[in-house]
Amino acid sequence: MGASASQPGPDILRGTLDLLILKALSWGPAHGYGVARWIQQATHDALAVGEGTLYPALHRLEERGWVAANWGSSENNRQAKFYALTRKGRAQLRTETDNWRRYAAAIFAALDAPAHE
């Protein structure tokens, strides 16, 4: 995932985008635009995802077998490529969520810690 040369939005950490995509798909299959919309809303637009970087990330997740893609009809009856979490992807989401929580907790703990003695 880190091989991407595109710049994720200024506030997106490496690897975070994958986690957000997996989370977005955990609510059910969606096309790329849907994923972008969900991230936008869920983060209150705080994370400016360069939408272009979303697609290589999606394809890489597909290559890893975490999501599966299929062409289907969109809500306005257009052909769109829908992504769905696979069983492997669901497990990955759980692991990464746990990792992220532990990581964030550790950073918060550090940020709130008193001065060095």
């Binding site: 991407s4 040369a5 595109s6 096309h31 790329g32 635009y33 972008a36 360069g50 939408e51 272009g52 970087t53 697609y55 290589p56 394809h59 890489r60 597909e62 290559e63 893609a69 299929n70 062409w71 969109s74 306005n76 257009r78 052909q79 769109a80 490529k81």
Partner: protein, 881 residues
């Protein structure tokens, strides 16, 4: 294909188009949303793209990822299918054991024979000689004005070339001799090489122990040192590492052992058992005229890197011209030539070996045709199965791939069995030491042979598999499902193809049989040549008189007389004689020759005669008749007038229509011709006798003689008592090469015998394979036409008519094969010409025999199918349909 198809369904046809559609959908959705939010279409589009970021890069990355996935899947699919195909092929092979066995035996024989012959060719002709940069090593030879070549150079010529060459970085000489080693167990004769000290460096020979020679050791009186070959060290000194510093007594000369050669360090003659420094006395003088026509050195030169043959030839021509100017009396008209070392070792076996390789290749082609035929027959049996697969969606390419996989698998298994056969047969071949092939020990199954076998196996699989695979999957396949009860739609065409294959097989067999036939006829002609002596009832051995007891000729002569007295006393012995050169052992020393009173030869003709020394009873012992005059007697002793005998070839050459008896000839001195003896074979039966002169051993005594004992009964039974008598006389005399004369005759044709037996074997294999080919085709066609035949029988055809028609068709096929094969034999016959003796390529008896054998084979092979056809019961046949 399954996974790839699924992939296509997911992506559409093209990953690129797929990505474009996906990205376009995104932009379009965003634009619509922005327009719904009140933006103008142009601005909405602008904003959407801005939000998207680097469109091209995203697209590129997506395409790259998808391409990568696709390639991976294609590969995985390929291997999955291959596994599936191989598994399937194994099942098919198990299901048809008779077919599988027939195909594998055929292939294993064909490929195994090829591997075996290839390992001989590889070892003898291809593998590098065991010398450093062997490609740069050359043997230097003399070329006389009449074109004759001498393998040796004289010492002054050698020194001149060594000093003045521009193309060789090293020029080294050796002189081989038999020496008698005494003081260690029984006296024994060994092959010694007397070498210039640089020989080791020039060839890249290494010592396992000690050192090589120094330049000083080539000086007169300084050379009492020796280097043992690894073999001699092992056999005589038991591999004792403390051998350095000990002495070895060779022909009375005591030398200190200073080194032991490493196991692979051998001279090109491959026989050297000990090395001694060549004594470079005053004869080795580049400035002298003395001794320039006394050639006794074998000269090996290492060319500078990157020089071509033309440059080497040019330099040698320049040197020859220089010497001709400086020494016109000795070097007028003489030239030097260089022969690559490999050529000098394997030159005369190269062509026959390549012919054998070609012949064995033909055998493989016959095997291919045979297996292709089997596959064609099976193709029709599998018609139904393939049709089902085709109906279930397997494409033609997929089915061909499946069938080719099967034939490649057959080829590979056949190749592995063949490799095992080759391994055993080459070991047996080397152990049998046929025909003193050079470099025999380099023969064996090695990496190159394995690669060759693998390539042959896969190539074979492709060759015999492709046509049947195309045939079995032709356009009728889909229709085949409805027809599966009947014979396949392509039956007639298939039958034609199978007949063509059989004709090809037969033609190849004819070529091989013709070649074998010609070689057999040549071999018979060779063994039929009158040897000029009577090999039966006589045996020969070699004795050398060396050491302190044999300082002069008188001592040797006395001892020979004593020995003869003892040998004549043995029971059954009828004659005892000695010579320096036995029949089939060469002609003898080449000496200048002139007839007194005859005009001298032109200056550019080197008039020579082969000279051997013989004792009075020698010709009686070998059984060669006197044609004129008298044999030698005991009165022709050392102090008597010099006399000589000539062979008939010499009499014809120098005394046409004259009587030589009583005339004087000059060769090292005047001698009177007292008689003419019959010609004997000198090298092998294929070469006519050259002019030979015999002088009494009493008058020209040699230390090494070959004694012939003729006796009633088995001559070899005498060997123990002969040895006993010699030991009783002088225990230090080494006896070597004890052999019946018949064995020598047998050995002189060992190489033709070797080539002939192999080619005959190949031809026999080809014949058997083609006979089974005919049998297969006829059986198949009878099975195919059983209904037709049944109708004919029902309509009143007699069994004999049916029989005749089937046999007639087989013989007809064979006749076409014979015609093609005979034509091909004429075209290819030239290759064999140099191996032939006493027959021409167009040899009616051979051709007639080959034709008869082939047609007879076809006749016999078709009898069984014909009988089956004649027994067809029309009622049963009709019931089956």
């Amino acid at each position: 294909m399954a996974r790839l198809t699924r992939f296509r369904q997911m992506f559409g046809l093209e990953p690129r188009r797929d990505v474009d559609a996906e990205l376009a959908f995104h932009i379009e959705m965003r634009v619509r949303e922005l327009i719904d939010g009140g933006e103008t279409p142009e601005r909405a589009r602008h904003l959407a793209l801005q939000r998207f970021g680097n469109y091209d890069q995203a697209r590129r990355e997506c395409v790259a990822i998808n391409e990568r996935r696709r390639r991976r899947m294609v590969r995985a699919d390929f291997f999955a299918e291959l596994r599936q195909d191989i598994g399937y092929a194994f099942r098919m092979m198990r299901r048809a054991p008779a077919f599988t066995l027939a195909a594998l035996v055929t292939l294993a024989l064909g490929i195994g024979a090829n591997s075996a012959i290839f390992s001989v060719v590889n070892g003898v002709l291809l593998e590098s000689l065991p010398y450093r940069d062997a490609g740069r090593l050359h043997v230097l030879q003399m070329r006389y004005p009449d074109g004759a070549r001498y393998f040796s150079l004289s010492a002054p010529d050698f020194m001149s070339i060594r000093a003045e060459t521009h193309v060789f970085e090293r020029v080294e000489a050796s002189n081989g001799a038999l020496v008698t080693v005494t003081g260690i167990g029984d006296p024994r004769e060994i092959n010694a090489s007397f070498v210039t000290h640089g020989m080791f460096e020039a060839l890249g020979l290494r010592v396992a122990l000690g050192r090589t020679f120094s330049a000083e050791e080539n000086l007169p009186g300084r050379g009492n040192v020796a280097i043992l070959s690894h073999g001699l060290w092992q056999n005589v000194f038991g591999g004792d590492p403390s051998v350095l510093g000990r002495t070895i007594t060779a022909s009375g000369r005591v030398s200190t052992i200073v080194g032991v050669a490493s196991p692979e360090a051998t001279m090109p003659d491959d026989a050297t058992e000990a090395f001694f420094p060549l004594t470079m006395d005053q004869a080795f003088d580049a400035a002298t005229m003395q001794g320039r026509r006394n050639e006794f050195l074998r000269v090996i030169a290492r060319a500078r890197d990157g020089l071509g043959d033309a440059e080497i030839a040019g330099d040698l021509a320049r040197l020859a011209a220089r010497l001709e100017t400086a020494f016109p009396e000795t070097n007028g008209g003489l030239g030097f030539t260089s022969v690559p070392l490999r050529e000098s070792i394997v030159g005369d076996v190269k062509k026959p070996l390549l012919v054998l390789l070609g012949a064995v290749g033909f055998v493989l082609l016959v095997a291919c045709a045979n297996v292709a035929n089997l596959l064609l027959a099976r193709g029709s049996a599998r018609h139904g199965e393939l049709s089902v697969r085709a109906a279930l969606g397997a494409g033609r390419a997929r089915l061909i791939r499946q069938l080719i996989t099967e034939s490649l698998l057959l080829g590979t298994i056949g190749g592995v069995i063949g490799l095992a056969l080759a391994y055993w047969s080459t070991q047996a071949l080397v152990a049998a030491r046929p025909a003193d092939l050079p470099r025999l020990d380099a023969i064996g199954v090695d990496g190159t042979v394995i690669v060759f076998t693998l390539a042959a196996a896969l190539g074979t699989g492709l060759v015999f598999g492709l046509v049947p695979a195309m045939q079995a999957t032709n356009a009728d396949l889909l229709r085949g499902l409805q027809e599966s009860g009947r014979s396949g739609g392509g039956g007639r065409r298939m039958h034609r193809m199978r007949s063509a294959l059989v004709v090809a097989e037969l033609a190849l067999a004819v070529v091989l049989l013709t070649g074998a036939g010609l070689l057999i006829r040549s071999f018979l002609a060779l063994t039929d040549v009158n040897p000029g002596f009577q090999p039966g009832g006589a045996m020969a051995f070699r004795v050398s008189f060396q050491g302190p007891d044999y300082q002069n000729g008188d001592q040797v002569r006395t001892r020979v007389d004593q020995l003869f007295d003892r040998l004549r006393g043995l029971p059954g012995v009828t004659a005892v004689g000695a010579t320096t050169v036995l029949p089939l052992g060469g002609g003898g020393a080449m000496l200048d020759f002139a007839v007194e009173g005859a005009p001298p030869p032109p200056p550019d003709v080197n008039q020579e005669i082969a000279v051997a020394s013989v004792t009075p009873e020698y010709f009686t012992a070998i059984g060669t008749p006197l044609k004129r005059g008298r044999f030698f007697s005991n009165l022709d002793h050392a102090k008597a007038p010099r006399v000589a005998l000539l062979n008939e070839a010499a009499a014809r050459k120098w005394f046409p229509n004259q009587d030589p008896v009583g005339r004087t000839v000059l060769s090292g001195g005047p001698q009177t011709v007292v008689g003419i003896v019959g010609d004997v074979l000198q090298r092998n039966p294929g070469q006519p006798a050259i002019a030979q002169m015999f002088v009494p051993h009493q008058q020209r005594t040699n230390r090494t003689i070959r004694i012939v004992v003729r006796a009633n009964g088995d001559p070899l039974a005498l060997a123990p008592s002969v040895r006993e008598q010699i030991r009783a006389l002088d225990p230090s005399l080494p006896v070597a090469q004890v052999m019946p004369l018949e064995e020598m005759v047998r050995r002189s044709v060992a190489r033709p015998r070797f080539y002939t037996s192999l080619l005959t074997l190949f031809a026999a294999v080809a014949l058997v394979l083609s006979a089974t080919g005919i049998f297969g085709v006829m059986s198949y066609s009878v099975a195919q036409q059983s209904k037709e035949i049944g109708i004919r029988i029902a309509l009143g055809a007699r069994s004999i008519d049916v029989l005749r028609s089937v046999v007639g068709r087989a013989v007809g096929l064979a006749a076409v094969g014979v015609l093609v094969g005979v034509t091909a034999s004429f075209a290819l016959g030239g290759i064999l010409r140099s191996q032939l003796f006493g027959v021409t390529i167009f040899d009616p008896p051979t051709l007639a025999t080959v034709m008869a054998v082939l047609l007879g084979c076809a006749f016999v092979a078709s009898l069984l199918p014909a009988a089956r056809a004649a027994r067809i019961d029309p009622i049963t046949t009709f019931k089956q349909t």
